[in-house]
Amino acid sequence: MYRALAYKEWLKIRWFTVGAVGIEILALLYIFTNLRAILEFNNVIAVWSSIVYKNYMFFNSVKYLPLAIGITISVAQYLPEVIDKKLKLTLHLPLEESRVLLFLNLFGTMILSVLNLLLVAVLIIGTSMVFPAEIVWAEFITLIPWVLAGYLGYFFTSSILIEPSWQRKTVMAIVGFFMINIYLVDAIYGAYIGIIIPLLIITLLYNYLHMLPGFRFKRGLK
């Protein structure tokens, strides 16, 4: 049964997922062609020095990409469920409602993970061909909060869409905005290293955020 549920979710988001892959590829092409050009036209030491001393982030153009993808996947997945209250159809299936709600978010999280893995893996592998391990590691640590912001954007957007009350939607949107902002502060390389683990745990806990709006939807609350 859950395979069928996954089939439905995939039908909703498949073209958005393909689009996200396309945008990631374009962004990566832009980053690496740009980097290549910089390395060609500049002294390599000057580039390293810019990275180390001037905090030059050659991959900065993907900062908001995981967030944009997270929000897009959530909208693609949940908007068709909330238009005409179609979530009722899903909750009427012969399955435990809490498990269904959890599964929907887990499916979206899994798709996001694949997309994020693609982005981070290509960036890290590509960078490691040019820069030493220290810079690659610093880049990786810098990327993590950006990626986590994507998950958080997904979790908050899902909850906002499912929530039946406009007041609560607004409160969640404001809280979400400020929460996500914490993950995207302009900082030096690896600035988040001390709080990566708490940030990761907090983000994962937000995977349950949509459960409350889901139950409120089920109870018919407004």
Binding site: M1, R3, A4, Y7, K8, L11, K12, P80, D84, K85, K86, K88, L89, L91, H92, L93, P94, L95, E96, K218, R219, G220, K222
Partner: protein, 294 residues
């Protein structure tokens, strides 16, 4: 189990607005039960409570003996649910949606679904969002019948449908329901279609339940009388007269009493009248008679 649905002292408020107060009715196994009422009388609210999508302010609603707010997955599989407006996943086509739902129900009857789909002039890869309202209603009905539920809950099946699709919908439903001893709970605002279809009904108006009885009994006992009189001021609702209309000197009264008793009642009130006639009614006339036109 004699009663598939039992509604006991159901009361529901939206804020301060009363929708139901102490609503009681039972739906017998194998019967076709209609919840009739004008727009805004609480039909969809009742459906939402029955399906567990709304927690009532007080009272109980049992489906197959389970609290409707906590229906187990096993019982949910026995309930087919049509959302008002034949809502289904519009991003799917008819093949995808059948493939999707078939995995949830062990008694899935694929042939019934495709029999209905063969009557539609749609492409297999045509999404539901590109179909007409009537075509979408057939997809929704096909899915319901393929599910093979013991209880069908249909919220305003007639919404947006022309006469042909409404007839097609009911014909399939009737054949299926009666043939296989299914219980059907239906709401509609187009009453005339349900004439000859329902076994029992509850009629709601803005103040609550107006009537609850087997439909044949209602149609047989509820009468419309028309007569002429210039003493319109003497007409009022009471124990004999359930409702009335006055157009110039032509007065129409609705009553569960026979013609003699109504005429005697009018005379007792001091009314002088002539040309007293018993006018035959269909279900829609009777519905308007009991609920009024406004």
């Amino acid at each position: 189990m004699e009663n598939v649905v039992e509604v006991k002292n159901l009361t529901h408020y939206y804020g301060n607005k009363k929708v139901h107060e102490n609503l009681n009715f039972n739906i017998k196994n194998g019967s076709i039960f209609g919840l009739l009422g004008k727009n805004g009388t609480g039909k969809t609210t009742t459906i939402n409570i029955l399906n567990g999508f709304l927690k009532p302010t007080s009272g109980k609603c049992l489906i197959f003996g389970e609290d409707s707010y906590r229906i187990s997955p096993k019982t949910k599989a026995r309930i087919g649910f049509l959302i008002e407006g034949h809502i289904q996943y519009s991003f799917m086509n008819i093949i995808q949606i059948e493939k999707y739902y078939s995995k949830f129900y062990s008694n899935w009857k694929r042939d019934i679904y495709y029999e209905l789909m063969s009557k539609l002039k749609v492409q297999e890869n045509q999404k539901l969002s590109k179909m007409s309202c009537g075509q979408r209603s057939q997809v929704a009905l096909g899915l319901l019948l393929a599910q093979d539920p013991d209880l069908l809950i249909l919220d305003d099946y007639s919404m947006g449908l022309d006469a042909g699709y409404r007839r097609l919908f009911l014909d399939f439903l009737k054949e299926y329901g009666k043939g296989e001893n299914k219980t059907i709970f239906i709401t509609s605002h187009i009453i005339q279609d349900l004439d000859g279809f329902l076994d029992d009904c509850v009629i709601l108006d803005y103040n609550g339940v107006v009537l609850q009885m087997p439909i044949e009994e209602f149609k047989t006992k509820f009468k419309m009388y028309r007569f002429n009189s210039d003493q319109q001021e003497l007409i009022s609702k009471d124990k004999v007269i359930n409702n009335f209309e006055i157009i110039k000197n032509k007065i129409t009264v609705y009553s569960f009493e026979d013609a003699d008793k109504v005429q005697k009642h009018l005379r007792d009130k001091g009314m002088v009248f002539n040309n007293f006639q018993n006018i035959p009614m269909d279900l829609e006339d009777a519905f308007i008679g009991i609920t009024g036109k406004y």
